[in-house]
C-alpha cells in the first residue's frame, strides 16, 4: 500500500473541502471493505484518504413524509435487520445476500453502491476498461466468465458489483449527493453509467461529492418485491446473477412492474421488455418464465459466460415467484 495522508473530519462542512477535484487524489473511507484491498493491490493510490465514519448525519434510517432516508453509513447488517426493511423484502434480501457477517457488519450502504468493479483485469492493474496497447479490450476473448452479458457493446465489460442497487432501483430509490455547492438528488436508475474511458467512473458522483443518503420513496412499501441471487457458493462470494423485482399488484394482476438485473451488465440492468410482458398478468410459473425469457432477449454472451444468460433468466423467474408469495412479516400487497 502506498503511504497516504489520513483525514478524519467530524462534519460534512469539514469533510467536503478535504476531497480533491480529480479522481485518484482522494478516496473516501467508510467500511473499507473494498477500498483497503484496492489500495493494497495498488489499483488506487490516493494521496489522501478521508474517513467519513465520524459524520453522524450519515448514520441511521428514518421515515419522512417523502420516504425512508437511509444514511450512507448504515451497515448492511443494520439494513438487513432494521424494522422498516420488513416492508421492502427485496432490499433486506439483497443485504442478506452479502453472505459474510464480517462484511455485513463493516460494509455500508454507500460503500455497496460506490464499490469498484470486481473485474479481474481491473483488479490486476489493467485499468478499468482492460485495454491492450492498441486500445482493444482484453475481455471479450479473455477471462470473461464473470463479465457482462448485457450492455456489453463496449468499451466496458465489467459487471456492476452492487448488491443493493437492483433492489433500490426497482423500488424507485434516489441518491442524495452532497458537494460544497449544496446537495443534489439523482434517481439511482440514473446514478450508474457505463464509462467511456479509463479516466471515467462507473457513476455520476463527482470526485468532490459524497453520497450521503439513499431515499426510498413514500408508497414503495405497497410494492411486492423480492431479490433472487444465483451463486456458486454460499458465503464470501459475489452472486453470478441477480434479479430484483417490485410489483404493484391489483386484484391479483400486475398493474406495474420494475425488474432490474444485477451482475450481468456494467450498470444495474433494467428489463423493460420483461416488465411489459407482465402487464395485466397474474404471476405464475408461465408468466414468470416468460418474463425471464424477455429479460435476457438482448443478451450477447462473451466467449466464456454463456451460462450466465441462463442464470439471469432463472433469477428473474424466481424473483417474480418469490415477490408474488404472501409476506410473512408486515405483509402488505402481494397476492
Amino acid at each position: 500500500m502506498q503511504a497516504f495522508e489520513y483525514a478524519h473530519p467530524r462534519s460534512m462542512t469539514e469533510a467536503l473541502p478535504l476531497l480533491g477535484s480529480r479522481w485518484g487524489e482522494t478516496e473516501i473511507l467508510a467500511g473499507g471493505t473494498d477500498l483497503l484491498s484496492l489500495m493494497k493491490n495498488y489499483v488506487v493510490t490516493p494521496k489522501r484518504v478521508v474517513n467519513i465514519k465520524g459524520l453522524r448525519e450519515l448514520r441511521g434510517i428514518r421515515g419522512t413524509p417523502e420516504g425512508i432516508y437511509i444514511g450512507a453509513l448504515v451497515t448492511l447488517e443494520e439494513l438487513r435487520t432494521s424494522q422498516p426493511m420488513h416492508e421492502y423484502p427485496a432490499l433486506a434480501q439483497a443485504a442478506a445476500g452479502v453472505t459474510s457477517p464480517q462484511i455485513r457488519n463493516m460494509g455500508t450502504v454507500g460503500g455497496d453502491l460506490c464499490q469498484r468493479p470486481r473485474c479481474w483485469y481491473f483488479r490486476s492493474g489493467f485499468g478499468l476498461l482492460a485495454r491492450d496497447e492498441s486500445g482493444r479490450s482484453l475481455v471479450p476473448q479473455g477471462e470473461n466468465r464473470y463479465h457482462a452479458i448485457l450492455g456489453n457493446d463496449g468499451p466496458a465489460y465489467f459487471v456492476n458489483p452492487s448488491s443493493l442497487a437492483p433492489a433500490l432501483i426497482a423500488l424507485g430509490a434516489k441518491a442524495r449527493l452532497d458537494g460544497q455547492n449544496g446537495e443534489r438528488y439523482v434517481a439511482l436508475a440514473e446514478f450508474f453509467v457505463i464509462p467511456k474511458s479509463d479516466a471515467e467512473r462507473e457513476n455520476v458522483l463527482q470526485p468532490n461529492e459524497i453520497l450521503t443518503h439513499v431515499i426510498i420513496p413514500e408508497g414503495a412499501w405497497e410494492l411486492s418485491s423480492a431479490t433472487y441471487e444465483v451463486r456458486q457458493k454460499e458465503a464470501l462470494d459475489w452472486p453470478l446473477a441477480t434479479a430484483a423485482v417490485a410489483l404493484k399488484m391489483q386484484a391479483g394482476k400486475v398493474a406495474s412492474a420494475r425488474i432490474v438485473l444485477g451482475h450481468v451488465a456494467p450498470i444495474p440492468w433494467p428489463a423493460p421488455e420483461a416488465e411489459k410482458s407482465l402487464a395485466g398478468q397474474p404471476i405464475n410459473e408461465a408468466t414468470a418464465a416468460r418474463a425471464g425469457e424477455a429479460a435476457v432477449q438482448g443478451a450477447k454472451p462473451l466467449s466464456g459466460n454463456r451460462y450466465k444468460v441462463q442464470l439471469a433468466r432463472v433469477a428473474v423467474k424466481r424473483a417474480l415467484l418469490a415477490a408474488a408469495r404472501p409476506r410473512s412479516i408486515g405483509a402488505k400487497g402481494g397476492v
Binding site: 457458493k233 454460499e234 441462463q310 432463472v314
Partner: protein, 747 residues
Amino acid sequence: MKKHLIGRPVPRKEGRAKVTGQARYVDDLVFPGMLYGATVRSRVPRGRIKGISFGEGIPWHEFTIVTAKDIPGENYVALIAHDQPYLADGAVNHSEEPVVLLAHPEKYLLEEARRAVQLEIEALRPTFTIEDSLNKKEIIWGEDNLFKSYSVEKGNVDEVWARADFIVEGEYRTGAQEQLYIETNGMIAVAIPEKGVTVWGSMQCPYYVHKALMALFGLPADKVRVIQSETGGGFGGKEEYPSMIAGHAALLAWKSGKPVKIIYDRAEDMAATTKRHPSRTRHRTAVSKDGKLLGMEIDFVIDGGAYTTLSPVVLSRGTIHAPGPYFCPNVRIRSRAVATNAPPHGAFRGFGAPQSIFALERHLNRVARAIGLTPEEFRRRNFIQPGQTTATGQVIRENVNMNHLLERALVLSDYHAKTARFARENSGQRRKKGMGFASFMHGAGFTGSGEQYLASVVELEATPQGRVRVLAASTEIGQGTNTIFSQIAADALGLDYDSIEILKPDTASVPNSGPTVASRTCMVVGKLVEAAALGLQQTLVGSGYLPEGYTPAGFERACKRYIESHGPLKSSSQYQPPPGIHWDDATYYGDAYGTYAWAVYVAEVTVDTVTFEIEVNDFVAVQEVGKVIHPVLAAGQIEGGVAQAIGYALYENVVWNEGRMFNSQMTNYIMPTAVDVPPIRVFFEELPYSYGPAGAKGLGELPMDGAAPAIVNAIENATGVSIHHIPVMPESLMEALAVTEKAVERA
C-alpha cells in the same frame, strides 16, 4: 508404570500459547535494525533478460539491491536437480520468477521501489500446456521437456486386449490448487560473512532449508542455522519454497549486514509459490464379462512448471497410487512430469495421488457402467486381498479388508436406500440428488527407498527433574506433531503428558528427523520417538536406578542419580526399514510403502440443473489408519482434508493468464467456507500396524485423495452426466448438461 495417553484427546501441547496469542509467528519477530526485503519478479513467462533499470523518484542509495551477481555460492535451490536459480541470471523461465531483491527499513517505500524496477526482457515463445510440452513445440527444459518419467510393468498387458470382453477408455484432468495455509510464507535472516547464516521462519522442513543455504553461500553445515518459528499451516506449500525465501532474505542480510525480514502478502504467496500439479490421465482398461479387471494401461502426466523442484517424487507417488486398491494381473503405467513456463508446481497434501486417484475412481464408474454392474459391485469383485500383489509387485501382508470398509461406508451413508429414493424422486425435478463414493489408499512415509536414504534420527534427553525432551526436526504446523510426540514418549516411559517437552526445531540443536511431509511424522518419526524413549528407559534400567513398576517420582529419582554419576542422559534412534521390505529404484519394483491407509468415502450432493449450483449435503469418511493416537486431531485431519478436497472438486479454479495466476486473491480464488461444507462424518477402523508407534499409520494426506472423485461420482449419479475434470465450474456443468439457451426451467 501407566500407559494412558495414546487414544485420548489430550489438549494440544502448544494450544495455550496459540489461543492466548503468545505463540510467535515469523512476522511477530522484530530484530533491532531490521530491514524489510522484497522480490522483483518477471512478468514475462519466458525470455532473456536484457537489462534492469531503476526508475526515478526512489532514493536508491538507501536500498540494498541484490542480483544473481551477488550470490557468494551456487545460484540454485539445492533439492533434487540443480536447475532452479535463486535469482534469474540471463534467462527467465516463468512469470513471477525472482530477478532482483531489494531491502529497506521502510516497508511502504520498499513496495514503491519494487514497482519502480523495470526488467527489460526479450520474450521467447512460452509453453503453457501439457500437450504443447509433450509435443515439444518448444524445447524449454533439458532435451525433451521431461523432468522425469517412470514405467511400471506387471504381467503382460499387450496380450489382454484380444481376450477382453470389454475395453473401456477415458481421459481425466485435474487443475492446479493453492494450499491456502492461514499464515503466508515468511523468513528473517541474519547473515554475517565471518559467522555464517541464521534464518527463522515458517516452514515444514528445516533441513531442506539448511541444505539449500549451505550451497547458496558455500558454507559448511555448522555455519548455517535454521530455526522454525511457529507455523500457521503448510499442506506441502512450505516444503520446498521456504528454501527460496530463506535464501533471498539471507542474500539481502549478507549484503546489507543487517537482519532482513521477507513476508509475502497473500497475492504474492498465491501467485509466486508452488501449487498442486495439474494433471492429465488416460486409462485403457480390459475387463472380463464377470467383472474382473484383466488389464490396465495408464498414461499419467503432470505439469511440473518451469523447474524440477519435487516433480519427480510427486510423479512417483501419483504413479504408484494410479491403479488404486484393486488387484489387476496386468498393469502398465507410463508417467511423465513435463516442463511448462508456469511457476513450478510442488508439494501439496496428497502429492500426486489425488490426481491419479481422481482419474481412476471416475474411470472405474465408467467401466462399471459399460459392463452393467453397479459401481460398488464392480469394486467388490476387484478389491485387492491379503496375499495379492500391487502393480509394483508389493505383496499385501496386512489384513486389508476393503470390502468391509465399503460396506460400512455404504451403511453409514444409507447409500442403497438413498440412491433408490433419489432415482425415484429426481425425475422431473430441477434439483437432483445423488450419491457417489470412492475407494482408495494412501502410502505412508517416503516412496520406495526414500526412508532408507533419509535415515532419520530422533533424540530424547532426560533432565535431573525427570523431564524428557524430544529433539527432532519434525515441525508442528498445526497438525499436532508436538501433541502426538508427547503422547508417544509419555506412554512409552509411563510418564505424565506434562513431563514431556518438545524442543523447537533448530538445526543447531536437533537431529535430522527428516522433512514433515508424506504422512510420515506420526508413523515413521513417531516410531523413532517411541524407540528412543524405550532406549532411555533401558539405559536407566540397565544402570540399576529404575525399578520395575516405577512411578513418575521413581523415574525422576533415577534420572537425577544417573545424571549425577554418568553425565547427560540421552537416547537416540535411527530409522530401520521393517524386515522384508525390498525396493528396486531401477525397475520400480517392490514394496513401494511400508504400509497404506485404506478408505472409502461417500458423498451426497444436490445439483440444480437450472442454475448449475452444486451442494454437498452429507459426507461419510471411513478409513483404516492403524491405531489412532489422538482421536480429535485425527478426525480434524480428515475433516480438514475433505473440506480442502471439496474446494479441489468444486471451487478452487486457478486461472492462468500468460502463465501467471490471474486470480491470486481470496476474493476471486474461491474456497469453501463453513456454510459450503456439509457435516463430515468420520469413522476409523484401527488395525494396529506392527512398525508404527503403538500401531499407528500415517493419515494426513489420505482425506485429500478420495473426496473429489466421490463428489463427481455423486454428480453423475444425480444428473446422469459424466464430468472428467475438476474443478467442476458452473459453466462446465452447463456444458455437460448440454443445456441450450432455449431450455426452459421445469418445475
